[in-house]
Symmetry: C2
Subunit: 336 residues, 2 copies
């Protein structure tokens, strides 16, 4: 950690999710946060993020520093203790590990990946074998209806865990301690952050929802959770996809998937979604409607690769993967 005792953080992907976790980290001045903004750079640089949050109130959040690129973030010689990657996980299109190269200082930089899906750590572990890599799963209800304007619901929850590394030349205890201090700041500022033993179990648990509702919302032609659950066959497909994720995840992690918010089975996931007062538009549906690339590689393809390696047949996920890729091809090619 840097000598002046203030944690220096670089956050990439300052969209809806990233802005809330950046804000909750900077609050109280125990961390200095530089955010890399892309599409929303101009507006955030000049006016900050205009946030309306059920949990934290209405606030204009000005990051300590707003930059356009990682190069700009290090041009003044700042050495970052943490790099937090909140970008959409699209390894089939771009390698985000390459982007952060200028800011990584071997074992002095801990990289926290707050992303969806399975297998997102690999590119980072390969490129930065000396750096501690932390895998994180977020549960947060947040959107950015226009550049720099953030609407947040009532909770922000983060689960994170250090990835096991065979050739780590860092002091694991020291890394965990600094991770605890970051976690402590988030918790002090109302974002529930928990460090867990086997983070992969939680990644698979989150995938239960993402590989089913998210993907079906798109390939069914654009439906929210209520519309999907109103049809018995569509509901059955969602249950079958969830069952496949449970099966692959439990085989891959060697343990039952954890229970979070009472969800311990496909039926429990479906029941809690049915109990929502307002229907949910999954993030993949929003990407679909905005004709943006979708996270199908980490949400379906890599889990299917794991299934194949383990000899598990997952026909529902296979079918949906083939279709979601075709749907995306259709609109990305016509966008050219």
């Amino acid at each position: 950690m840097s000598s002046d005792a203030t944690i220096k953080v670089l956050l990439l992907g300052a969209g809806a999710l990233g802005s809330i976790f950046a804000w909750r980290l900077q609050e109280g001045d125990k961390a200095k946060v530089t955010v890399v903004c892309r599409s929303n750079y101009s507006i955030v640089k000049s006016r900050g993020f205009s946030i309306v949050s059920e949990a934290y109130g209405k606030h204009t959040y000005h990051p300590n520093k707003v930059v356009r690129s990682v190069e700009d973030a290090v041009s003044d010689g700042t050495v970052y203790d943490f790099i937090i990657v909140c970008t959409k996980a699209l390894p089939n299109l771009s390698d985000d590990s390459e982007m952060i190269v200028p800011a990584v200082n071997g074992n002095k930089t801990t990289i926290i990946l707050i992303q969806n899906g399975i297998g997102i750590e690999k590119a980072f572990c390969v490129r930065f074998p000396e750096s501690p890599i932390v895998s994180a799963v977020a549960y947060i209800d947040v959107s950015q209806p226009s550049d720099g304007v953030i609407e947040h619901g009532s909770n922000a929850m983060l689960l994170m865990g250090l990835c096991a590394s065979e050739n780590a030349n860092y002091d694991t205890a020291a890394v965990n301690k600094s991770l605890q201090s970051v976690s402590g700041i988030w918790n002090d500022n109302g974002a529930t952050c928990t460090i867990v033993e086997n983070i992969q179990r939680f990644r698979w648990l989150k995938l239960v929802w993402n590989a089913s509702f998210n993907t079906v919302s798109v390939v069914s032609g654009g439906n929210d959770t209520r519309q999907m659950l109103a049809d018995p066959y569509c509901k059955g497909l969602i249950r079958n996809l969830m069952t496949e994720v449970y099966k692959i995840g439990e085989a891959a992690t060697g343990e039952p998937l954890p229970v979070l918010l009472g969800a311990d089975s496909p039926d429990a996931f479906i029941a809690s979604t049915e109990a929502n007062k307002t229907p949910v538009c999954p993030s993949m549906l929003m990407d679909f409607r905005a004709r943006r690339p979708m996270e199908h590689e980490v949400i379906l393809k890599r889990p299917l690769d794991v299934a194949k390696r383990l000899g598990i047949h997952a026909p529902y996920m296979e079918a949906v993967y083939a279709l979601v890729v075709m749907v995306e091809k259709g609109y990305l090619s016509s966008r050219l």
Copy 2:
């Protein structure tokens, strides 16, 4: 058969396919054909069908009689020997057997069903237990780009067979003889018509293509055969769907599916489709683009019901069925 030795035929669903088979039956005056037109009634009544056919040339076809309904078709006391049903098979939306009631005269009327899918005969067998029911499968490349305007390719092929009936009180030999005379007229007029023993095998064989290319063309977001086959995962999905149809069809009919035009396996179907010079827009894709109801009930749901009864697991068809129903719901509901 009626006393004047001219076969009297009533044809329902005088769209693209129906108009060609009606024309090829009327040609030579051995059959008198009355067609029931719905959306294209006015234009066909006044101007006939304007047909451009690679096989039969350019011609304006005037049916012997054009009517708006079955009631109108029988109002002059005409007794029909054959009723040919060429409507789209949408038993989830309408029961076409009900529509022909006024024209059915017990065992004196033979009903020929030229429709896609599985289980289309049932409603007719139940409603008309005394009438010979003929199940037919058509292979024809034809479209109706505007009302009454028909574009036809180079072939029109029909396979048909009398459905076995336990309580038939008709003379099967006589029915087969009259069926042969109809078949003979078609063959004389260049439409290949073959009477086969086990027509269900041929229904399942046609389903191999319809349950795969047709359905995937829609749920993949609207793709023709070339676009589908260009993607390895989409091609894999098509092969998996075909394999399921083979499996269910062979179990249901108790025989291997027949070989037609060299197609004896999923790979052969795919190879012959790949060899097409021009990509094919499946009929379901055309319905999807025109926001019309699709034949998913007879192309997926009823085959899945058969699979269930036989204890065969067909997850790819299940997934695609759930999705195609959702896609249709989306556009039919927004049409209201």
